[in-house]
Amino acid sequence: MSEHPTASLDDVVHQKHRLGILTVAAEAKRVEFGYLRSTLELTAGNLSRHITVLEQAGLIAVEKGYDGKRPRTWVSVTSVGRTALAAEMSALRALVERHVASGS
C-alpha cells in the first residue's frame, strides 16, 4: 500500500504563510520584504519570523541592502527551497485527489 500523502508534508514548508512566501519567491529572481508583506497581508514582525524560519532551514536566501537611503530586504528562493516547494505542492494535490476519490 502506498504511503499516505500527509507523510510527505514538511512542517517548515506546510505553514500557510511560509508556503505563500515560497510560492511568491519561486516566481521571481528575488522579492522585496514590503511586497511580501502587502501581498500576504502580514505584519512586519510576523513576516520577519517566518522568513527567519525559512532562512534557517536553507529554503530562502536573504539579502539586505539600500535603495538610495531606504533600507531594503530581498528574499530569493534557493534550489533546496524550490525542491521543497514542488514536493509540498504535489503532496497537497495528492491529498486533494485522495479526498475527492474517497468522497465519490
Partner: protein, 259 residues
C-alpha cells in the same frame, strides 16, 4: 486544502502579473524597425552585379546585403539597436522590479541576444565554407529547417539542464545556420530569440501570443518580401520590416493599455 491550493494559485498569478514589463522591449524593437526604413535604399540597376561579388561581412546575417546603397550603415544600425535594446531591456526590468518589489531574471534574455548577435560570425564562416561542400548546394528551405531543429534541440538541452557549453554551442550553431539561410531577417531572428526567452520567463499569455504573432510575421516577411524583384525600390527592400514592426508596435500598445 483545495482552498489553500486556490489561494496559492492566486498568489502565483498576482506575482506573475506584477512582474510584467514586456511593453517596453516590444515597442522599442517595433519603433526601431520602422526607423530603419530609410536605410533600405537600393542601388538600382547596379544591384545585381554587386550581389554577385560577395565580400566577407558578418553583418549580412543581420538583415543587410550588397544590393543596398548603405549596407554597412544598415548593418551597424541593427547591431546598435540589438545591443542597446538588450541592455535597455535588462535595465528596464531591473528598475521596474525594484519599484514594484518583485524582480525578473534577465540573464537568460541577455544570453539569448548575445548568442543571436555573436552567431553571425559563425554564420559568415558557414557562408564561406559551405559552398565548397555538398551542403553549399542546399536551398534556404532545408537549411532553415536544420537551423530550427538545432535551436529546438538547444532548448531541450537547456530545459534538461545539460552542460552549459553544449547548450550554448547548439544554440549558436542553430542560430548561425538559420541566419545563414535567412540573413535578410537575421536581425528579427535575434529579436525573436530574446522575446521567446522573455515570454518564457514572464509567463504571460498575452506576451506569449504577441511573440508567436511576431514569429509568424517574420516567417511571412522572409518568405514573401520581393527583395529580388526588378526594379528594386525602397519599398521592395524595406517591405521586410513592415509586418514584424507592425506586430511589435501594435503588441506593445496593447500591452501598455492592458498591463
Amino acid at each position: 486544502m483545495a482552498d489553500l491550493l486556490g489561494d496559492l494559485d492566486e498568489l502565483r498569478r498576482r506575482a506573475r502579473k506584477d512582474r510584467h514589463a514586456y511593453p517596453f522591449p516590444v515597442l522599442y524593437f517595433g519603433v526601431a524597425s520602422f526607423l530603419a526604413i530609410p536605410l533600405y535604399q537600393p542601388w538600382g540597376p547596379e544591384a545585381l552585379r554587386r550581389v554577385s561579388a560577395p565580400t566577407w561581412n558578418p553583418l549580412t546575417s543581420l538583415g543587410t546585403n550588397d544590393a543596398l546603397r548603405y549596407p554597412l550603415a544598415l548593418g551597424l544600425y541593427w547591431l546598435t539597436v540589438l545591443v542597446v535594446g538588450a541592455l535597455a531591456t535588462a535595465w528596464w526590468y531591473r528598475r521596474r522590479g525594484r519599484r514594484v518589489g518583485i524582480e525578473t531574471s534577465t540573464g537568460g534574455y541577455l544570453a539569448a541576444v548575445g548568442i543571436g548577435v555573436g552567431a553571425p560570425l559563425v554564420s559568415e564562416g558557414l557562408y564561406w565554407y559551405l559552398p565548397m561542400t555538398p551542403l553549399g548546394h542546399w536551398q534556404p528551405g532545408p537549411a532553415t529547417g536544420i537551423g530550427l531543429v538545432v535551436i529546438a534541440a538547444a532548448t531541450v538541452l537547456w530545459r534538461r539542464r545539460a552542460p552549459r557549453v553544449v547548450t550554448v554551442a547548439a544554440a549558436v550553431l542553430g542560430t548561425a545556420v538559420l541566419q545563414y539561410a535567412q540573413g535578410w531577417v537575421g536581425q528579427f531572428i535575434v529579436i525573436g530569440l530574446g522575446l521567446v526567452v522573455l515570454a518564457a520567463v514572464e509567463r504571460s499569455t498575452r506576451f506569449t501570443t504577441i511573440t508567436a504573432a511576431y514569429l509568424v510575421a517574420v516567417c511571412l516577411s522572409a518568405g514573401f518580401t520581393p527583395v529580388q524583384s526588378v526594379p528594386t525600390t525602397l519599398w521592395t527592400m524595406a517591405g521586410v520590416v513592415l509586418l514584424p514592426g507592425f506586430v511589435l508596435v501594435v503588441g506593445g500598445l496593447v500591452g501598455l493599455r492592458r498591463e
